[in-house]
Structures are given as structure tokens and as C-alpha cells.
Amino acid sequence: MERRTLIKTFAASLLASAVLAGPAMAEGTIKIGASAPKTGPLAGGAAVTYWPAVQLWVHDVNERGGIDVGGEKMKVELIEYDDRTSNEEAIKNVQRMATVDKVDFIIPPYGTGINLATAPLIAKYGYPHIAVTAVADGIEGFAERWPNSFWTLGTSEAMASSLVDVLTKMREAGQINEKVAVVNVADAFGIELANTGKPKLKDAGFDIVYETSYPLQQQDFAPIISGAKDAGPDTFIAFSYPGDTFGLTKQATITDLPVKAYYVGVATAFPAFAQANGAAANGVMGVGGVDAASDAYQDFAKREVDVTGVAPDYWASPVQYASLEVLEQAITKAGSLDKAAVIDALNTETFETIMGEWKFEDNIIKKFWTVGQWQDGVFHGIASTGVGGEAEPIVKSGWN
């Protein structure tokens, strides 16, 4: 009998707290919903790039009294959901935000796959979909299919292209030879980059002396690094994800991989990368970058640490923040919370963000950072599609 009562009390208290913990309806606030990984394989990335930027923005906006909507200042109420890095969960969350919480706007999820999975639903409900952490070659097609969507971080094709350009310049300056090793993680982004990057390398006159792909969440890279080392290239490229970015670099450090150009993929731009690798990080190139020397970025970084305790990365974090600045300004320019009006404003207006001036061309931000490099403890952007402020690349000399 005791057990029965226990169960009943347990169930009742859960139900009670669930009911009581629902979001409070306040007058004059804008409800914004955000669904992104707090658990699951992408939780690590979201914890650095997504959540702190979102929380900082809400804080900043409310500090200023709120967003100006047709003359009235309305504060932002953020409703957070964990999508557990699951498409199914994310879809459910979007449904919930749209039909139960009835949010005014939705901050799109983290990660290419989940952005794509939720895009049809977000489009169905008519919300503006300002995607950040979704780098894919199909974005022009997506923008056509979902005219409410906006894409801000670029394409895999551009990332690979830029990298090849940087390397070609280094080769022409006599800094590296024509041999490269290319490895990639066997997942969407890694595969896309490899498939577009390898032909470009060959066209640019590079010789791929070692190539392979490895599964997600791989931990041991000794065979790969030694295979690459044996082939004797001056350049090592890995289209990798956070876990492997760290793992590969550690292994390269240990074996003292004698390359003059070393590139790893996602998470190279995380502050944790420099912390984990210390001096070995110097000269390491990675996807992304930002004008790290600019006042705008430095101010943003300082504020994010002050408010959320987490330092931003040098690539997608500021873009995430900028995407929200854009939303704020679009709402103001539209003068209302009407989703269609905001989408119109997004299409036509120019915006001032910490990433500079933004104007969507066919729903896409065409000027974005593509390659960055760690130089003296800062990950500087060294190549972009025309942003401006690129630093000069340096040659990698050793791992100490």
C-alpha cells in the first residue's frame, strides 16, 4: 500500500509542478522560443555557440527596456527547449512553440540536419527562419523552397574553395609543397566539404597523397595520423567535428606531424581548442573565423563572459548574436509583431550588427568568414567571401 501512495504522490507532484511551471502570460512581452541541444551529441557545440549568444541577446535587449515595436518597448521572454539532438524532438518542440506556447518568433535550432528537419514546419507556421549553424550547399534551393528562411553562415563550397585559395597562395609563395593529406568525418558536413574540396584541390594542382574518412565520435587517431605522416605531405586537412578536431590535433602534436599547414574543421574556433592545445595550437587553421581584432567582437566577447560565464567561439557565436540583432531590427522596422511584415523587412532592409552591415541577397548573407587561424592565442579570420579585415596566414612550425 505504501508503494501505491508513493506512486500517486510522485505522479501528483510531477503533474503539479508541470502545471505550475508553465510560462506566465505577461502583458507587453514578446515570446520567443528556442529549441536546441542541451543533451546529445551536439550538446557540446550548442553549449558554446548557441545558448550563450541567445541568452546574452535576451539580456541585452531587456537591459535596454525591450524591443521597439511601433513605438512601444516590449521586453523579450525566452522559452527554452532541449531537442536532445533529435529531429523528432525538435519537430515536436517547434509544434509546441507554435501551437501551445503560441510564441511570436522562433530562434531556429543548432545544426544543419535539425535546421532542415524543422524548416518545413517553421515555414508552415509562417515564422521567419533565420538559420545560423546550417552550412550546406543547398541553401539557395532552400531559400526558394522556404521563402521565410534566411541563411547566414555560408556554403560548404565556399569554405572549401577559400581553403584551397589560401593553400594555393602559400604554395605559390614557396611556403608549402603540392602534397596534401585529406581526411573527413563521415557525417553530413564533413562529407560535403570533402566532396567539394578534394576536386578543387586537384584542380588547383595539389596532389592528394593520403585520404580517408572516419566515423562520428571516433576517439583514436593514431592510425590516421601515422598514415598521413608516412605519405609525407606539407599540408594536412581534416574536415572534422568537435571531438575529432581535438583528438586529431592531440595525436598530431604527439607524433610531431611535420606539416607546414594544418587545418581542422568544426570547433577549431572554440576557445577550448587553444586551452587544450596550448602552444601547439599556433598556426592551426580551421573553418570559420572572425575579425578578432575588431572592437565589435572584443566587446561582444567580454560581455558574453560577463553575462553568461561562457566565452564565445571565433566563428558562429557572433553570427548567432548578429542573427538576433537582425530579428530585433526587423521587428522595429516592420513596426509590428506580424510575421509576414517582419519577413518583408528582413528581405528589404539593411541591418547594423556586430558582424558589420548585413543585407540579405536572395535570403542569403553572401559575405561570410571561411577560414581562420590561431595566431598568438587568437583565432583570426584569414579568408572570407569579401568581409574585409582578413589577417595574413602564417606557416605552421612545429608543435611546441
Binding site: 511551471a21 543533451t39 527547449y81 532541449d82 536532445r84 529531429n87 563521415a186 553530413a188 562529407i191 560535403e192
Partner: protein, 322 residues
């Protein structure tokens, strides 16, 4: 096989009414609650299919995600070339073939080996599929753009659920079901009586796997973008086990008693406590293990037994031994 007796006719009538009512749901709500119902029906199908096999044999299969993913991928790969119904059929065949292979390889061994193997099966299939796709197709994600909406998926799943229940009922009344009951009671006796234990288990596993594969195929249009980590998500396997065990394995409709409360509970927890989901799920899980060892079905059975409705225990009606 005789026609249904009175009790079974009653159950069938109730079932028809319930299904009819359920089919009306999309007309009542088109958003979040419909989505939730789609999830409920999906897990009802998965759990019932799972229980078809794991109930009688007591082998805990964690391979659900593997079959589901195979189903989803069958649709994802073929959606541009073949009609959807054909793809669903292909999914069923592919999953049952996979189930057959796994069954033949591992069902002769003891239970725990089976559990471990199926635990990693989804990962293994995912890795192989990713590797094949990367090497031969050059891209890992597949776009599934169709005109189907939540409503259609809901109705398809509902129809599938009906098929699963009918199949389960038929299996129970057949020689296979009879054989499984004997095996469940005492495998040695079964073998001595001439029942090909291994073959019975494999066939049952294949039937179960086929249904799970079909579910995956039906869900593919909902994903829009199919990639291995989400199609072969191990969490599916775990959740199916939890819900089926919560419901209990005594009756064909017992899993439903687990699916409905769990889905709603999980939904409430993840909505209200986004930062504490894992923790609360773990607590809920352990509470179930300690306080409901034979699931909600066990509670109901105890209740009934206490109130003297013991006549069901003796008759040979569709129940597997505990």
C-alpha cells in the same frame, strides 16, 4: 481455427470504437496535440511489435532503432524513383531480412548476448550505411519532400496499429503462438516436445522487425531530411523498452498502458524542465523499475486477482506466461 467467441467479439467491438474515435483526432487538432498523438501511435506500434517478440521469449531486443532506420532509409533512398507504398513494402522486407540474419546469428545464445548485440546493432548499421553512402553516393543526408502531412502519417500509423494487433491476435491463436507459450514457460520442455525453438524465435523476430521497419518508412516523410544519426537513433530502442516494460507484457494491449502515460510524462518533463530532463527521466525510470516491476498490467492483474476475477487465469486466452 474457430471464429471468435463472445469475449473476443466484445474486445473487437471495443477496439473498433476506439480506433474510430482515434481516427477523428486530426479533425480536432492540427498542431502540437496531433503531433503528440502521432508520437503515441508510433510508439504504440513499435512497442506492440517489440512485445510480439520480446514478451514471450523474454529476450530484450534493443535493435528497434536498427529496423526503424532501415525502414526510414528505404524510403529516403527511393522516394524520387518509386511510389511510396512500394517503398514501404521494401522497408518491410529489408527489416525482416536483417532481423532474420541477426536472429540466426544470436538467438541460439543466451539472453544477455542478444541484448548486448542488439544494443550496438543500430550503431553498426548506421556506420555501415554512412560508409556506403559516403563512398558510393557522395552525400550522407537524403531529402524526403512529399505532400504528406501529420494527418496522413497519423492515419497510416493508426492503420498499421490495427494490422499489428490483428497479426498479434492471429499469431497467438496459431501454432506459432502456442509454441511460443510453451517456450516461454520452459524451453527445455519445448525442445523435447519437438518444437524447433530457434526457428520459432527467428520467425517471430522477423515479423516484429518487419513492423518496426514499416513504421520507420511511414515516419520518413516527417523527417524531411534523413541522416543516419537521426534515423538510427539509439534512444528509440531505449524508449520502446521502457514503455513496453512499463505497460507490462501480459496482454496484446498491455504496451499501450505504458506508451500513453510515458509519452505524456516525458513530454511534460521535457517541456517544463528543459535543463533537468535527463535527471528526471532517470528518476522516473528507476521509480518504474522499483514500484512497477511487472508494469501497469501487473498492477491491473493484481487488482483483478484481489477482486476475484480469477477465471481469466486458467483459460487458454492470449496471454504469455510471466
Amino acid at each position: 481455427m474457430s471464429l471468435m467467441n463472445d469475449k473476443e467479439r466484445r474486445i473487437a467491438a471495443i477496439a473498433l470504437v476506439l480506433f474510430g474515435a482515434a481516427a477523428m483526432i486530426p479533425f480536432a487538432d492540427d498542431g502540437y496535440y496531433l503531433s503528440l498523438c502521432v508520437n503515441i501511435v508510433m510508439y504504440a506500434v513499435l512497442c506492440t511489435a517489440w512485445t510480439l517478440f520480446s514478451g514471450p521469449t523474454h529476450y530484450i531486443s534493443l535493435a528497434t532503432a536498427a529496423f526503424f532506420g532501415v525502414g526510414t532509409y528505404s524510403v529516403g533512398l527511393g522516394i524520387d524513383a518509386l511510389p511510396f507504398p512500394l517503398l514501404v513494402a521494401i522497408a518491410a522486407v529489408a527489416s525482416s531480412v536483417l532481423a532474420g540474419l541477426v536472429g540466426i546469428a544470436t538467438l541460439r545464445l543466451s539472453g544477455v548476448y542478444f541484448v548486448i548485440f542488439t544494443l550496438g546493432l543500430a550503431e553498426l548499421v548506421r556506420q555501415v550505411v554512412t560508409w556506403l553512402q559516403a563512398k558510393f553516393l557522395g552525400a550522407v543526408g537524403l531529402y524526403v519532400f512529399t505532400d504528406m502531412t501529420e494527418k496522413h502519417i497519423f492515419w497510416m500509423l493508426l492503420a498499421l496499429a490495427a494490422v499489428v494487433y490483428v497479426t498479434g491476435w492471429l499469431v497467438n491463436r496459431s501454432r506459432l503462438g502456442f509454441a511460443m507459450r510453451i517456450i516461454g514457460n520452459d524451453e527445455t520442455v519445448a525442445r523435447h516436445v519437438g518444437i524447433d525453438v530457434a526457428r520459432a524465435k527467428v520467425i517471430l523476430f522477423m515479423i516484429s522487425g518487419a513492423f518496426i521497419g514499416i513504421t520507420g518508412a511511414i515516419l520518413a516523410p516527417r523527417f524531411a531530411y534523413v541522416e543516419p544519426p537521426s534515423a538510427f537513433n539509439p534512444v528509440i530502442s531505449f524508449q520502446v523498452v521502457i514503455m513496453a516494460l512499463l505497460g507490462g507484457t501480459g496482454r496484446l494491449w498491455a504496451p499501450l498502458l505504458g506508451v500513453i502515460p510515458f509519452t505524456i510524462l516525458f513530454d511534460r518533463i521535457s517541456a517544463s524542465f528543459p535543463n533537468h530532463t535527463s535527471l528526471l527521466i532517470g528518476v522516473a525510470f528507476m521509480a518504474i523499475v522499483y514500484f512497477l516491476p511487472r508494469g501497469v498490467m501487473g498492477l491491473i492483474d493484481d487488482f483483478r486477482a484481489r477482486h476475484g476475477k480469477a477465471r481469466h487465469a486458467a483459460a487458454g486466452l492470449p496471454e504469455a506466461a510471466e
